[in-house]
Symmetry: D2
């Protein structure tokens, strides 16, 4: 069950003003929510450092005209299919495809899949984004 | 048309050995490909610094039981629908959803969409990943 | 004058527990202090994005046996001496020197100095660290 | 002894043009040097991931009027003096001091020193910068 705790934070009023202005620029309507986001982002980073089960997205852009590339990328995905939850394919223009995969596993396993896809010849750009299963980040 | 240029790079042999070991660990089969990836990643960073038209993915995780959250997130996406190319929704567990959006526009516009989604109360974690249209990154 | 403001933050108790464990591992003795640090770090990032007057440190490592390198690095520093507050030189081993410069100016100016030093042939590694004048970060 | 190896890299001519323009903006006079820097920066990141002996700089800004703060920061430095090679102190203005320490040891040890200093109440901003002993980065 969800149990909210309330606690007090002391801040210099200048620091608080600056922070309020910053988060307003980022469209936050609520100071607690902005602080929770800072806290959660730190915890997610820690989750990855500790190599716990977590979730990441792998984004990569490639030219589908490159001979054999689509087949190679599919093969890699099949090899790691127990880790890959889902994928989306977007046609950016006549030549370029973008794929995003949602991958669940230990941080180190997700990195292996990501390295293999991004290292494939013909992939023009790729990035692994560390996110979370959401559990424990109430 | 694609025109390949070949040029020489001089490296100390220790540095080259270390690099070859590093990229083997990252599953590269080819040194040129690894160098091209380093170069392209630098160019993509620059593309974003200059606020040119580019592509990003926005990943966010939330608890769909939070009252009214799904509706709010959908509203934001409709407001920016001219920028959002595509979206994917994954059910991580009984409570948690992950969404990834592929967004195309100026870097600053993509950041606005991202700030608004990630700042929404109830979104537990979010990240903007800067990638590219692929154009000019031959 | 320093005026402290106190305000309440609501957090789920699981999230708070996780955060308390994380900051204990980072040697914080005080939750408010940890939150202030997260807030200040965000504000410093913003200060640099806005190109305001700020402070950075430039760290670089080089082999002082490389012909003419020391002279080149000194020349660059003299050209930008109005920005450079101070410098420190450490002998890492028989060959390698590390220098750290403390630089004050607009973010873009500090980046120019940093690019020029780090781009000099013979500099093996260099990094610009964004920090702050401390003003307004009460 | 230093032994240079020369090898060829193939790049599309558009990609090469874009890279040449990018590195010219960063004041590189030489394409090989720019590539070596990309390679070395990757190797340094890896050195830290593997927790080998390495070098970092710890930068922190604080208000020296905060009661007892200077003493606390000095105490921490003495506790870790076997790791700290050197330090520099800069007076930023009437209130604010910046210190940079050059620290040598395993990455994890350097992080401990950094966490303890940056977590001290009254330190307004701090950053650990990962660099290198220079060895093996010929």
């Amino acid at each position: 069950m969800k149990k909210l705790v309330r606690f007090g934070v002391s801040l210099d009023h200048h620091l608080l003003n600056d922070f309020d202005r910053l988060i307003a620029g980022r469209k936050y309507t609520n100071r607690s929510e902005a602080l929770r986001d800072l806290i959660r982002d730190n915890l997610v980073g820690h989750e990855w450092d500790e190599d716990k089960e977590t979730v990441g997205t792998i984004t990569f852009v490639y030219d589908h005209h490159v001979r054999d590339l689509t087949r190679k990328l599919t093969d890699i995905q099949h090899r790691y299919q127990s880790l890959i939850l889902s994928g989306m394919h977007v046609h950016l223009d006549h030549d370029h495809c973008l794929e995003v995969l949602v991958v669940k596993g230990k941080g180190s396993e997700i990195k292996t899949v990501s390295d293999e896809l991004i290292g494939t010849k013909g992939v023009k750009h790729g990035k692994l984004t560390a996110t979370t299963t959401g559990k424990g980040l109430s």
